[in-house]
């Protein structure tokens, strides 16, 4: 077998590696545009048919491919977060991810790390993600032209998951957006979509301003984002701040001092656990990370991208680039709840006509969860009905460290999406039993106000 010793760029030269089938190119579920975007990475792979003697690629290759499709594969040096040296000093195994050098795991295994996050807590370096602010009287109306959220209706100091849409109603990116005040919006977008998103927002900002709109933006490259998740997140963080965290609920935002540093705090995350994302001045990031780990007496552990992916999959959360793409609408992705009620009536965001039509008629495909037998289903595995006819495709899958079974997410034809529907998932050409399952796979523990 080929071992995960190397950032995959050196694997490019070996012809032992044959990538998985590109059968999905001809799938009714994915347009040619998708297959282009999925193959757009400069890691040169030509489509190979799935033969019996196909050799697996390097493991690390498979890992990074499953985590993200946005690698820097040319010789551009990888970007480093303020915590890079800290990761290495703490046993972090660094891998390329979306143009950054990020820790995929530390000394503990991905399984142990995932389980520990839910039992105690995990601290994640997510400084590769892009935080930005919109300022000005027209911040809300401006951003509402680009996202599906009802920003006007958000209480100041609260936020939500939202989706940036394109003219076809497809997803450009997903993002956690917060209305700090009526004239300040704070949002975080995916690292792999940074350039695309900033170009998109920037272009629309320019034309909005030309029409007299009062809005400007600032990209928070002077800040670093950390995620602290798990049952010990709040108790640990409480040691480091005077503000009472017990009255700060899921989705809420505060600017406050943590460990003496001026932070933006959002009670949100990507694991399904209670937790926070902390935006800290970049020069204070290491000290804050150290303080959090110390206050937890080692129970909160540095946790890498490998565990982060297992955690979000267990929580039923989409990974942009896998479960959401340019041609998939929020309705198909099961995110209709994120479309504000007023927005459903009024539209006013890119692709609204497509999305509103899907809301009325129902989408043709839907994102669902699966439990399956046999080997874990991986992204691009075909989903078939009992008679062997293709009904969909897996977009994310793996072995759940907490449930100790295979879990997967994918899209199936509407009508076959109800929980309990039996299907087959093809792994390496062989069908294995699968059943549609409600998500989240692991119950979420978001900190919500008492009823």
């Amino acid at each position: 077998m080929h071992l995960p010793i190397t950032p995959f760029r050196t694997k490019k030269t070996t012809n032992k590696h044959q990538p998985r089938s590109n059968k999905y190119i001809s799938s009714p579920f994915f347009t040619p545009a998708l297959s282009l975007s999925l193959n757009s990475h400069s890691h040169s792979r030509s489509p190979h048919s799935h033969t019996q003697t196909m050799r697996g690629g390097g493991l690390l290759l498979s890992v990074t491919r499953r985590l993200s499709r946005h690698f820097a594969t040319d010789s551009a040096p990888l970007k480093k977060t303020p915590l890079y040296d800290f990761h290495v000093a703490n046993g972090g195994k660094m891998v390329p991810f979306a143009g950054w050098s990020m820790p995929i795991q530390y000394a503990d295994s991905i399984m142990d790390s995932t389980v520990n996050c839910r039992a105690n807590g995990g601290l994640f370096d997510v400084a590769h993600m892009c935080g930005l602010s919109l300022y000005g009287r027209d911040s809300v109306p401006f951003l509402e032209t680009l996202v599906i959220a009802d920003l006007a209706g958000l209480k100041p100091g609260t936020g939500s998951l939202t989706v940036f849409t394109n003219e076809n109603g497809g997803a450009i990116d997903d993002s956690v957006v917060t209305k700090v005040k009526d004239d300040h919006i704070y949002l975080v977008v995916n690292a792999g979509c940074r350039d695309k998103d900033l170009a998109h927002i920037g272009a629309h900002l320019e034309s909005f301003k030309k029409k007299g709109g009062d809005v400007s933006w600032h990209i928070h490259d002077e800040r670093a984002l950390l995620a602290l998740q798990g049952p010990l997140a709040a108790p640990t963080l409480q040691f480091l701040t005077k503000d009472d965290l017990s009255t700060m609920y899921f989705g809420e935002f505060k600017m406050l001092d943590i460990n003496g540093f001026a932070c933006y705090l959002t009670r949100t995350g990507y694991t399904g656990e209670d937790g926070f994302e902390i935006s800290v001045p970049a020069e204070n990031a290491v000290d804050l990370a150290k303080a959090i780990l110390e206050k937890s007496e080692g129970k909160v552990r540095l946790t890498g991208l490998g565990a982060r992916d297992s955690l979000r999959l267990e929580a039923g959360l989409c990974l942009y680039g896998n479960d959401m793409e340019q041609h998939i609408t929020p309705v198909e992705a099961g995110l209709s709840w994120a479309i504000g009620k007023r927005r459903k009536a009024e539209g006013g965001f890119l692709g609204a006509q497509v999305i509103l039509k899907q809301l009325e008629e129902g989408p043709k495909i839907r994102r669902v969860g699966f439990f399956s037998q046999g080997p874990p289903a991986r992204s691009h595995s075909e989903i078939a009905d009992a008679s062997g006819e293709k009904i969909g495709e897996v977009t994310s899958g793996g072995f759940s460290p907490c449930l100790k079974k295979n879990i997967a997410m994918g899209y199936v034809k509407s009508g076959l999406h109800k929980p309990g529907t039996e299907a087959k998932i093809l792994v390496r050409g062989k069908p294995y039993d699968a059943v549609v399952t409600k998500m989240p796979f692991v119950p979420t523990k978001y900190y919500k106000p008492p009823k």
């Binding site: 077998m1 080929h2 071992l3 995960p4 010793i5 190397t6 950032p7 050196t10 003697t53 196909m54 050799r55 697996g56 493991l59 690390l60 498979s62 890992v63 499953r66 985590l67 795991q105 295994s109 991905i110 399984m111 995932t114 490998g306 992916d309 297992s310 046999g374 080997p375 874990p376 991986r378 793996g398 072995f399 460290p401 390496r428």
Partner: protein
């Protein structure tokens, strides 16, 4: 990790194994190895095949092993099954050619045996060898140890 080194070096002379420090992986002296990290133990014209300690260490927790059918044939250099970890799948490539006479069904219930005991209880298939001369193209334990060091140093 330290206790593992201690165990390894204490056991070294008794079990006739060599240890190398880098990843605390063990390499057994009596086995042969290919460059894709599988081992073979030969006994007459019968051979047992598995993946090395080095391989399981890099793979992480094995959650599933896809086993071939008894009675099917394997060819040296061709894949015959797969090992799945939490995050990735890796093909197992046979170091020898022959007919598969036995597969380790225990791995269906306990795929973790590959991690815990890669050379003993984590064996994967038993093969009736076609051509003993194939073994000459494999590495001995010293060569394999060096091979691993070089591979790791490159990256």
């Amino acid at each position: 990790m330290a206790s593992r080194v201690l165990w390894a070096s204490r056991a070294a002379s008794y079990l006739r194994i060599s240890t190398f420090n880098r990843a605390f992986s063990t390499v057994l002296k009596d086995l042969k190895y290919n460059d894709t990290h599988e081992w073979v133990k030969v006994d007459g014209d019968s051979a047992t095949v598995g993946i090395t300690d080095h391989a399981q260490d890099h793979l992480g927790d094995v959650v599933y092993v896809e086993l071939p059918e008894v009675g099917s044939t394997v060819a040296q250099g061709a894949n015959f099954g797969a090992v799945e970890s939490v995050k990735a799948t890796s093909d197992i490539i046979s170091p020898v050619s022959g007919e598969i006479v036995e597969v380790n069904d225990e791995l269906s219930n306990s795929p973790g045996l590959v991690n815990a005991s890669p050379y003993e209880n984590g064996w994967i298939i038993k093969v009736k060898l076609n051509d003993a001369a194939e073994l000459d193209s494999l590495m001995d334990s010293d060569k394999y140890t060096k091979f691993c060091e070089e591979e790791d140093a490159k990256h």
